[in-house]
Structure formats: C-alpha cells, structure tokens
Amino acid sequence: MGEKTVGEKRERYQNRIEILQGTLDLLILQTLQWGPQHGYGISVAIRNRSGELLQVDTGSLYPALHRLEKQKWIKAEWRISENKQRAKFYQLTAAGKKQLTRERSKWSQLSDAIAGVLQPEE
C-alpha cells in the first residue's frame, strides 16, 4: 500500500494549497509588482513585509509559482542573483498585472465583508 500513503500525503499538500491558493497567488503577484524576484526572495519578502507573521510554505510556493506561470500571469527566466548565484527569476506579465488588480479588489471586498460580519452589533 506504499503508493496509497504517498497519494494521501500528496492530497494533504494539495488541500493546503486549496486553502491558501487565492491569498498566496495575490501575495506572490503583489510581491512581483516591485520587480523580478526568485522563489526564495519572494518567500523572504512576504515574511518581512508581513512582520514575520506570514510564513510561506515552500511546498505551496513552488507549485503556486508554476501554476501562475502556466496561466501566463508571470514568466520565469534563469539569471544570476545578487549573490552571484544562478536562480530562476519570476516576473509579472501584462496579464498578471490585470490579474493582480482583480485579485486585490476581490480581496478588499472579501475583507470588508468579513469585517462587516465580525463587527459587533450595535
């Protein structure tokens, strides 16, 4: 039954992606708005900008990057990093910029709605 366990584990990972998906995509797109960045850089940027609050799970980050690339919202390119290291840099495409706008407005609607629900009744 070895295959099954692997399968189930994979299932768990995917579930986490499901939960984070919308948000993570938004965070990645937002991060790339400031310029091309590699996977590690993106995770560091999100961590730093959220005041170390948001830990991006690498197990979600790379699949998300590849998915976004497949959607043609970002494009990837091998470059030499500031530390003279080869790394794959991701960059926002025109379609990605539009998507970012959409995601942002969706997010603000959502957070408004949730805030509205959570507001103590008067």
Partner: protein, 871 residues
C-alpha cells in the same frame, strides 16, 4: 508533452529547488550558524523536496501522464487476475484488428503507396488505347507531357538454349523507361529512336529471366539471343523490383514503329499510353491538350474512324489508371472487415459490461474514496485501450499470416500485389485502430459503470436501475452485432449465389477430358504459311494416332484463355447505324475442322467444317448471337462475310451455339460485334493480315493429364526442337481460372461473414446467459408461485427472439440500403435479391435461436429452492 521536454523541466525544477536551499543556507550561515546545521534547517524548512516537486509537477499539468502509467499498471494487474476474460476479449479484438490490418495492407500497397518511380505524382495515364501511328503522332505533338506506350502480353520463343522456352514480353516505346524514371540493374534502357525498324533488334531482360536462364552472368550484355528466330542484342537487365506493367513480363522489346506497314501501324495493337507531365504543366493542361489532339487524330488514320473512338479519353494519375479495376473490390473488402471489427467491438463491450456488473462494488468503493467520475471513466477506458493494444499486437501477427493467405486467394494478376507488404503505414494504421477500438468498445461500459458508481453501488445487491440500464445497453449492442453480421452474411449470400450462377453458366463447350496447350513455332518459321501448316498437320496426325486420344484440333484463341483475335470484315446486307463502323470488328476463331467435335460445341444449323473446306471454297461458321444480330429472323446459313483484303467472300455453312469465349459472362468484349470461325489455312488472316502462327492444341483424351502432356511434348519434340510447349492446362482449369476474381471475392466475403456470424451469435448468447444468471432469483420465485418450466423457457426465448428479430430487421434494412455497392460484383442476381435476403434472415434466425436455447434451457432447469437461497 514530449519525453525530452519533460526531462528538461524536471532538471529545471530540481535546480530551482537547489538554488532555494542554497540561498536559505547562506542566509543562516550569515546569521552565524554552522554550514551543516544551516543546510539541515533549510531543508527542514523547505519540507519534503520530492513532494514539492511532485505537487509542482501537478501544477505543471503532467499529472495525467503519470495517471495513465498508473492506470495501465493497475489494468495489467487486473487482466492478469482474470486471464479467461482477457484471453477472450483480446482474441476477439485480434481477429477483428488482424483482418482489418491484412486488408488495409492490400489497400495500402495497391492504392496508397506511390508508384516506385521518381516523382510519381507527375506520372499520368491516358485513358483509351492507341495504335502505333496514333501514338507516334501524340508523341510528336504533345507539349504538356512526354508520352510512352506499351503493349503487354506478347510472346516470344527463346531458342538456342537446351530447350526452347516461351517468354512473355512487353513491347515498349523507346522512351518508356526514361519516362518512368526506371534505371536498369545492368547495362542501359532503350535510347530514343530505337523503336523504328532497323534500330530495334534489341532486348532488355527481367532480373528473374537473367538469373534463371543466363546464370546471372553480366557478360550477357552485348550478346545476342534468339527470339522468334531473330537475333536480338541484350542491352540491359532490369532490377527485380521493376515489374512494369506486371510481374509476368520477362523481356522488353522496342515497339516496331513502321509507317510503311499500314495495317500494323494503324490497326494492330491498340496500346495503353502513359506520360510524364513536363515541368510547369498541369494535369488539367494535359487534359485540354489531349482533347485537342483527340479532335484531329482520327483524320490521320488511313480509313474513317468512328467518332466515338476514344471520345472520352482523359488524363488521370498513373496510379489510379493502373489500379482502377481493383479499387472498388478492395474498398468493398475494407468495408466488410470494418463491419467485422464493429461486431468484435460490441462483443467485447458486452463482455466488459457484464464484468462491470461484478466490479460495481470495487468502483463504488473507489468513488466513495473520492475518485471523480472522470477519473473512473478514464481508468476503465485505459483498461479497454490496453486490451485493444494487446489485441492489436496479436492482430498484427494474424495479419501477417492473413496477408500471405490473401496473396494466395487473390488472382495473381491483381496489379501491384507482389509489392504489397506491411510497412510503417500499416503499423500506424493498426496502432491507431487498436487505440480507437479500445476507446469505442470501452466508452459505453466505462461511462455506464462510472454512472453506476454514483447511483450507490454500495447498497448491497442493488440490481435496480443500473441492472436495467445495463441490460438495455447490452441488448442494443447484441442487436447491433446481429444487424452487422446479417449485412455481411447477406453480402456473402449474394456473392455465393452470383458465383454459383456463374460457375453453372453453360460455357457452350464441354470441358471434361480436354487438355489444351500452346504450341507455337517461331514467327519466322511460319513466314512461309505452307511450312507452318505442314508442321501443325503433322502434329495433329501424330497426336491423333496416339492411344486414348478421341480427337484433337487447333484453335488460335482458346475460349476463356485470355486472348482475343480481332478481324474487321464486311457482312452481306449489313446497314450499320449512324456512327457505327462500316466493317464491324469480329472475333475470328481460326480452327481445324475437328474443333467443334473435340470441344463439344453444339451445331444449331447447317454443318461444321470438313477436311475439304481447308482447300476448297472459302467458308465460315458464326455463333447464334452473331446470326441473330446480323440476320434477325433469317437463316444465316448461305449468307456471306468478307474478311477485309481477303480475295473472296466466304459462305456461312453453319451456325453453332454461343461460346463464352471472353469470360463466363460474355461471349465477346463489348467493343466487338460478332464471332466467326474459319478453317485454318493461308487465307485465314487476322487484323495484321497474317495467318496466325501461334496455335493452341486441344486434345480430347481418356488418359490422364500427365500422360497426355508427355505424349504431346514428345510429339512436338519429334517434329522440331525449336517449338516450345507452354500453358498446358485442362479445359476445366481454364474455366476455373477465368473466374478467379469473383471466386476470391466470394471466398473472402464468406470468410468474413462466417467470422461475423460467429461473433454475433456469441454476442446474443452472452446477453441471454447474463440475463438468465441475473434473473435466477426472479425465475425461482416465479416457479415457486406456479410458473411452468415451459413459461420460463418461452419468456427467455422470447427475450432472445426480440433481440434477434430486431437485429435481423435492422440488418436487412441496412443491407437494402448498402448492397447497391456490390452490384458491380454480381452476376445473374440482383443486389436486392429477395430469395437471398429471406434465406439469410431465416438462417440467422435459426442460428440465433439455437444460441438462445442453451441459456433458456438453463433457466428452465432452475431449481426454485436453490434459486431462492441464491445470494
């Protein structure tokens, strides 16, 4: 996605992960941790590298590929677990796919593979035939293409070796080889200008002849060989793959284009013409030019040509021109095997469905564990395709054997048959067919089962809705099988009836105990008619005195022997209709007086020839159909005909029964008007105004074939060492060979129909068996409640009868709609022959009901007590 691209992406992903880990580690080191610890921490933080890669792969979209591999592995495991089912399914598919592959190999090799010459698409065939004079004019005038002509089926005596050999040769215009682009294996082909008198004493050998008779010795080049008593220089040897116009050709000789001999130049051989489009010309331009040529070529003839002559001549691709005759028959066969495959498909679909019933639980569990409907459907389809691929591989083996068998069954003169082989196109066809087959027969069961999974198969013993849906689906599949089988059996029935009619046609002669053989001295030997006639007279005398010989005679063209002899002649009191030839073209049989008695041709009125006719008053005999056509409601005896350029008119002394001389369906080809017989003497000349020198001897004898043949060879050898004896055949074999084409079509259709019927019956049997085993409980209850065994039997048989009748009805309707395509292959029977339709319907009904009876009996024998405890 290609394997290599996938590999590259994989490496890419790996590197990306590594660079991430390195960066994370470096940062930790900068924060002051040891390198090793840092790396470990980074790795921990990253999580399971393999899993990340796997999920990233999923996001990339190559998950489906791994799924397929997984499904295939699972499918193989399941197939191993039920070898019986797998064997039956794979075998059924292998039969269907194998038959299709074999027939497709033929279609491919004959119709699809381009001709083995350079730029074959530029090669064209001019429909219509032309005498030398018209051809030479065409060659000089055509601007859009270079044309060449060839006359097949000429025969030459090769002498100077130990014993004389009769060779089959093709006369070709000098440029024919270069137009085709064919290169010799040795030496050269003909140069332009080598097809005129004085330049044409040349010959090119086939590879087979060169190897067989000249030991494959290259020194043959430049040497001379004796053909028809004339020495010809060997200039080249063609390679074994060169089989133009057919594999029968052993030597190629240049045409003898001699304008001084008006008859030979304008009337003798009407030859097919082929061409190669010149650079920049199109087929359409060539057609236009040919139409213009056709409009004035008639005026070049030394006599008026009927306006209808070659009026519809056109230019078509050479490949189409060469295989036009077999195209329809091949496509018919392909249609027939396609039906067989459909039946095989529905059969396996049925099998799969009944197994799906036993798999409902498994599928239910899988879907409960979260497998989507798509996913289950896909998995079931993968299994089907896997079976079909196994079936296809086995089918490929069957096809290889089948193709060898086909080459034996098909008439040997089928064009390009020798070239047919299984190439990459056939392999691709089979591969595609296997996958398609798997999808087709797997689709219904897979869709059905995945739906079943949703309707709660987990409820134990659910036989409710899904059972009924499945039964209906299985029923329709069985109906389809019977219908397809019905169509094929009807087609086979029609062909068998047609073939039966054809083989019971009265050929107009009695073939039993008659042996025929070609005995042909060299044309130069027969240069003096007297010498030739003496030789033949001596031969007949010698053969006649041999014991057991009841009679012997000579004829220039044996009925059904594949040769015709043309002669234009004048008919007394004949007023041709407008546009028709003033001197109609006859088939002239030149015979010795005993011919009619030896061949058993009945005399209808007047008398047959007697010995005195050979040197006496000029006489002739005509056939009944000819007499009716030219002298309706009159007695033909006493009327006269006149061979053009002959000295005197001939008196008709007798009328004989019609002889099927051209083929078993026709006395004469459509372009001829009548048949006349004249005694063999020097005034019995053919269209080339020459007395025939190649005769066929017919011997009626009570001794066996081998003895008579030996006697004949001995008699010929005692008279001349230069005369070969060839084509030794009993008349029975001659008749049988003349129907080899319809026979092969009939055999193949009968075989396919038998296969189809067997598969179809298995289908009905399977459905009913399943029905009975499914309803055991119900039957038990009924019987416990007082139903009689007879009622049970009737109910099951009724179910079977419903399926069979529906299938038979649909099959008949389909056959009515489709059989018209067969009409070209039928003789003496209509494509909608009610007798065939009805008897096939009855036959199929009987066979189907027999197949139903077995499960019905099982149902009848159900013990109510056992049945109620069942499950």
């Amino acid at each position: 996605m290609s394997f290599w691209r996938r590999r590259r992406r994989e490496a890419d992903l790996e590197e990306e992960v590594r660079s991430h880990l390195e960066m994370a580690a470096r940062e930790s080191v900068e924060r002051g941790e040891t390198a090793k610890k840092a790396e470990q921490a980074a790795r921990r933080e990253f999580g399971n590298v393999e899993l990340v890669k796997e999920t990233a792969r999923d996001a990339r979209g190559w998950r489906w590929m791994e799924d397929i591999v997984e499904d295939a592995r699972y499918g193989l495991r399941r197939m191993r677990k039920s070898p019986g089912f797998t064997a039956i399914a794979v075998l059924t598919l292998a039969l269907g796919i194998g038959a299709n592959t074999a027939i497709f190999s033929l279609v491919n090799g004959i119709l699809l593979v381009s001709l083995p010459y350079p730029n074959p698409e530029r090669l064209v065939s001019v429909t219509g035939t032309y005498p030398k004079g018209a051809f030479v004019a065409m060659r000089e005038q055509m601007r859009t293409m270079d044309v060449g002509a060839y006359a097949e089926g000429h025969e030459f005596n090769l002498t100077g070796l130990e014993e004389p050999v009769r060779l089959t040769g093709t006369l070709v215009s000098a440029q024919l080889f270069s137009i085709l682009g064919a290169r010799p294996e040795l030496g050269r082909t003909f140069y332009p200008g080598e097809d005129v008198p004085g330049q044409d004493n040349l010959v090119i050998l086939s590879h087979a002849l060169w190897a067989e008779k000249f030991g494959g010795n290259p020194s043959i080049l430049g040497q001379s060989i004796e053909l028809e008593g004339k020495s010809r220089q060997v200039v080249g040897v063609m390679p074994a793959e060169f089989r133009f116009p057919s594999p029968k050709t052993q030597v190629w000789l240049p045409l003898h284009n001699d304008p001084r001999n008006t008859i030979l130049y304008w009337a003798d051989d009407f030859m097919p013409v082929l061409g190669r489009l010149r650079p920049g010309s199109t087929m359409e331009q060539a057609r236009t030019e040919l139409r213009m040529f056709q409009s004035h070529v008639g005026a070049l003839f030394p006599w008026p040509m009927p306006a209808a002559w070659n009026a519809d001549a056109s230019v078509v691709p050479l490949q189409n021109g060469m295989v036009a005759d077999v195209r329809t028959r091949l496509l018919l066969l392909l249609g027939a095997v396609a039906l067989v495959l459909m039946i095989a498909c529905s059969n396996v679909a049925n099998l799969t469905l009944s197994r799906a019933a036993t798999r409902e639980k498994e599928i239910g569990i899988r879907s409960a564990l979260g497998a989507g409907r798509m996913r289950i459907t896909r998995q079931l389809l993968t299994e089907s395709v896997l079976q079909a691929i196994l079936g296809g591989s086995l089918g490929l083996l069957f096809a290889k054997e089948g193709l060898a068998l086909l080459k034996l069954v098909l008439p040997p003169d089928t064009p390009r048959l020798a070239d047919v082989q299984m190439d990459w196109r056939v392999l691709a066809f089979t591969g595609g067919l296997a996958i398609l087959t798997g999808l087709i027969f797997g689709f219904a069961p897979a869709l059905h089962s995945s739906r079943a999974a949703l309707t709660g198969a987990l409820k134990s013993g659910s036989r409710g809705t899904t059972g009924r849906v499945s039964q209906r689906l299985r029923g329709s599949l069985a109906i389809a099988q019977v219908a397809f089988a019905m169509m094929l059996v009807i087609a086979a029935g029609l062909l068998i009836r047609s073939f039966w009619t054809l083989s019971h046609v009265d050929p107009g002669f009695r073939s039993e105990h008659v042996l025929s053989a070609r005995v042909a001295p060299n044309q130069s030997f027969c240069g003096g008619a007297a010498r030739c006639l003496t030789f033949y007279r001596n031969l007949l005398d010698q053969v006649r005195t041999s014991p057991a010989v009841a009679g012997t005679a000579l004829v220039n063209t044996l009925p059904l022997g594949g040769r015709v002899a043309k002669r234009s002649l004048d008919v007394e009191n004949y007023a041709p209709a407008a546009g028709q030839d003033l001197s109609p073209l006859f088939w002239l049989h030149v015979v010795t007086p005993d011919y009619f008695r030896v061949m058993g041709v009945p005399l209808l009125s007047g008398r047959t020839f007697v010995d005195a006719d050979v040197s006496g008053e000029p006489v002739a005999i005509v056939t009944a159909a000819t007499a009716r056509r030219f002298w309706p409601n009159q007695n033909a005896v006493g009327k006269h005909i006149h061979l053009l350029d002959d000295k005197s008119w001939r008196t008709i002394v007798g009328v004989i029964a019609d002889v099927r001389a051209y083929d078993l369906q026709r006395n004469i080809p459509s372009w001829m008007s009548g048949t006349a017989y004249v005694p063999y003497n020097s005034s019995a000349t053919l269209e080339d105004r020459r007395m025939p020198s190649e005769m066929t001897i017919v011997i009626r004898s009570t001794s066996d074939e081998a003895q008579t043949t030996a006697m004949l060879r001995e008699a010929v050898a005692s008279l001349s060492h230069e005369v070969p004896v060839s084509e030794v055949k009993t008349m029975g074999a001659v008749v049988s060979d003349s129907v080899s084409t319809p026979r092969s079509t009939t055999i193949l259709f009968a075989a396919f129909a038998g296969l189809a019927l067997t598969l179809g019956i298995i289908g009905i049997y399977g459905v009913l068996s399943f029905l009975v085993s499914n309803r055991t409980q119900e039957i038990g209850i009924r019987m416990a409640l007082g139903a009689q065994r007879r009622d049970v039997l009737r109910s099951v048989m009724g179910e079977g009868a419903k399926l069979s009748l529906a299938g038979i009805g649909l099959g008949m309707a389909g056959a009515l709609a489709l059989m018209r395509v067969l009409s070209g292959e039928l003789y003496g029977v209509a494509a909608t022959d009610p007798l065939t339709f009805c008897s096939v319907a009855i036959l199929v009904a009987i066979v189907a009901m027999t197949a139903c009876y077995v499960p019905a009996r099982r149902a009848m024998k159900v013990d109510p007590m056992v049945a109620l405890r069942y499950e």
